[in-house]
């Protein structure tokens, strides 16, 4: 306010107000002090809110971990470590063994990776090296993004009505029991769903290959394929691997699409065409029906294992990417 005293542009009213307040300087000081105190208080409160929010996320994750561990204690106590490789899962007889689900999860996820890796790497190479821009690259980028955007329950629904009959015919032809549903069908669905993860990661990595390296190879007379094989691939090895790890993390935890087409039996799968169950799908199917505390706790222990495995895989993947991008 006092700045307006010498300001010729100030209106008469301002001047009047200034003179009137100048007559009672104490009052003004108090008011100004109060205002700055209030501002400091708001500022501190704001800083504190920010800290609390950041803390909340940390507490949330710790809470998730603690809840899973606490709730699976009954099953750990009763069933022990051998629960993980017990071969029979029969809640009616109170026999719990997680081996069929561990096997089912590993089979579906790795089969899905094997199917999807050629496609996702091809997308990564096309987008990163052959066509970094242009209509083809835009089209492919949009396709990959759309694949990632479709909800998993729709993949499952489509798989159930379109893919299952196809697989059943295929099974008839090669002479295995024609169930249609099973490990193989879920792997195919999963392989479509995880393409975007490895593809977009691989594209980023291939883009980061320094062009002097490539130019050097070209000037020595290397062909495109030789540059890709002996310059780009070795340089992006760890990054491509990290992309595959992220895909794997997604495949392990995927629930709905797998639940709908895997056939849901707790028997150990005999081959890749037989029906089975994954850790996620058995939780989805039996959690609300689990009557006895041990049954429920055994399911939660599966959830805990799933949580730990996916977290470790994701963390390794992220570490590799971070190291790669910092170099």
């Amino acid at each position: 306010m006092e700045t307006t005293v010498n300001n010729p542009g100030a209106t008469r009213r301002d001047k009047l107000r200034v003179t009137s307040s100048l007559q009672t300087p104490d009052k003004v000081n108090v008011r100004r002090l109060r205002r700055s105190y209030r501002q400091i208080r708001t500022e501190n409160a704001f800083r504190k809110t920010l800290i609390i929010m950041a803390l909340a996320i940390f507490v949330l994750v710790v809470g998730i971990m603690i809840t899973l561990i606490v709730q699976s204690i009954p099953s750990m106590k009763l069933l022990g470590v051998k629960y993980l490789w017990g071969k029979v899962w029969d809640p009616v007889q109170d026999i719990y063994g997680a081996y069929p689900f561990l096997l089912g999860t590993l089979l579906t996820s790795f089969l899905a990776l094997i199917i999807s890796v050629p496609f996702s790497f091809a997308v990564a190479i096309v987008l990163g090296e052959y066509y970094p821009r242009g209509w083809f690259s835009n089209l492919l980028k949009n396709v990959v993004e759309l694949i990632a955007a479709i909800p998993s329950v729709i993949y499952g629904f489509w798989g159930l009505f379109v893919l299952v009959p196809i697989v059943r015919n295929f099974e008839l032809k090669i002479g295995v029991q024609p169930m249609g549903v099973g490990i193989f069908t879920s792997s195919v669905i999963l392989s479509i769903m995880v393409i975007p993860y490895a593809a977009s990661m691989g594209r980023e990595m291939i883009r980061m290959v320094p062009s002097p390296l490539k130019e050097g190879a070209y000037s020595l007379g290397a062909t495109r394929w030789e540059v890709i094989r002996s310059i780009i691939m070795p340089y992006t090895k760890s990054g491509l691997f990290a992309g595959v790890l992220l895909s794997l993390g997604r495949a392990l935890g995927e629930t709905m699409a797998v639940t709908m087409v895997i056939g849901n039996t707790s028997l150990i799968p005999k081959n890749i065409f037989s029906p089975g169950n994954t850790m996620a799908s058995v939780i989805a199917n039996e959690f609300t029906e689990a009557a006895s505390p041990v049954y429920l706790s055994a399911l939660i222990e599966l959830g805990l294992v799933l949580f730990l495995v996916t977290v470790v895989i994701n963390m390794i993947g992220k570490r590799i990417i971070k190291r790669f991008t910092n170099e």
Partner: protein, 281 residues
């Protein structure tokens, strides 16, 4: 040209064709899924499909009003919970890059991003459903909010990191208090990126089914009470798709098309905004 060079060039061409073939093959499943859902869904959609609740098996003319309303409520409540927390922690992370809390918080966001959705469903079941004693829409919203958080935090942090420090310094030099500097200068500058992150997170969770199985549970009637079980589109699709009745399959096809359109629309809006604001998510 010698035969050796011809061979090498030939190899290169073969590889290029193979790679392009494999990459183009990714279009096939996408087209197959989109085409099939549109073909099956479009014939099931009419006015009564939007305004009626599902009828018992055998009666024609049911709709999915309960799931539509439920989806909007569950996702809306989840967004209300997740957006402030996500944006504020994103601000904290971009403002305090090196503090210890920032390290742990960032690690938590990384972990949260990889947690399978079904596990979040289990945890929320024990946090909310069990103490209350019944399934409820609000517990479903909490589960979805937890899934939204990492995306919002990440996009906020990444967007704000891109803003030049001079912006902040200028605001502070004018005597602005810290909170006003953040809320009136920094946030408006980064609002495009933050909004697209929010939209992306909504698109991600709109189709989530697994965390709702043990929380919102589903409800065959129209309900707007968030402390009671509620239906949602993905839950309805899951329940009816795995049922043995053709009437219910038809409802599920229609619902799939609606869900697909909703999710794709959100994705397209996100894309347009990111392009406009030139943000890398």
């Amino acid at each position: 040209m010698g035969p050796r060079i011809k061979l090498r060039i030939g190899k290169s061409t073969v590889f290029k064709t193979l790679v392009i073939l494999f990459a183009s093959a990714c279009v096939i499943p996408l087209l197959a899924i989109l085409g099939y859902i549109i073909k099956e869904g479009i014939t099931k959609i009419n006015w009564s499909f939007f305004v009626n609740v599902p009828k018992p098996v055998g009666e024609a003319g049911g709709g999915i009003a309960n799931a539509l309303v439920g989806s909007f409520i569950i996702v809306g409540v989840a967004a209300i919970m997740a957006i402030p927390v996500g944006i504020l922690s994103g601000i904290y992370l971009s403002e305090n890059k090196t503090s210890k809390l920032a390290y742990w918080s960032r690690l938590s966001v990384d972990i949260l991003q990889g947690v399978p959705s079904i596990v979040i469903g289990i945890v929320v079941y024990f946090w909310i459903v069990k103490p209350i004693g019944s399934f409820s829409a609000i517990s479903g919203s909490v589960a979805l909010a937890i899934m939204m958080l990492p995306i919002i935090v990440r996009s906020t942090e990444e967007t704000l990191k891109l803003l030049p420090d001079t912006l902040k310094e200028a605001a502070l030099a004018l005597g602005m208090p810290y909170h006003r500097m953040i809320l009136k200068v920094i946030l408006p500058c980064g609002i495009g990126g933050i909004l697209s992150g929010v939209m992306l997170s909504v698109a991600r969770i709109a189709g989530e089914t697994a965390p709702l199985l043990f929380t919102a549970f589903g409800n065959p009637y129209l309900s707007t009470n968030i402390t009671k079980p509620m239906h949602s589109l993905p839950l309805l699709i899951f329940n009816y798709a795995t049922s043995p009745y053709d009437d219910w399959h038809n409802l599920a096809w229609g619902a799939s098309l609606i869900l697909l359109l909703w999710v794709l629309l959100l994705n397209i809006i996100t894309k347009l905004t990111t392009r406009k604001w030139n943000i890398q998510l």
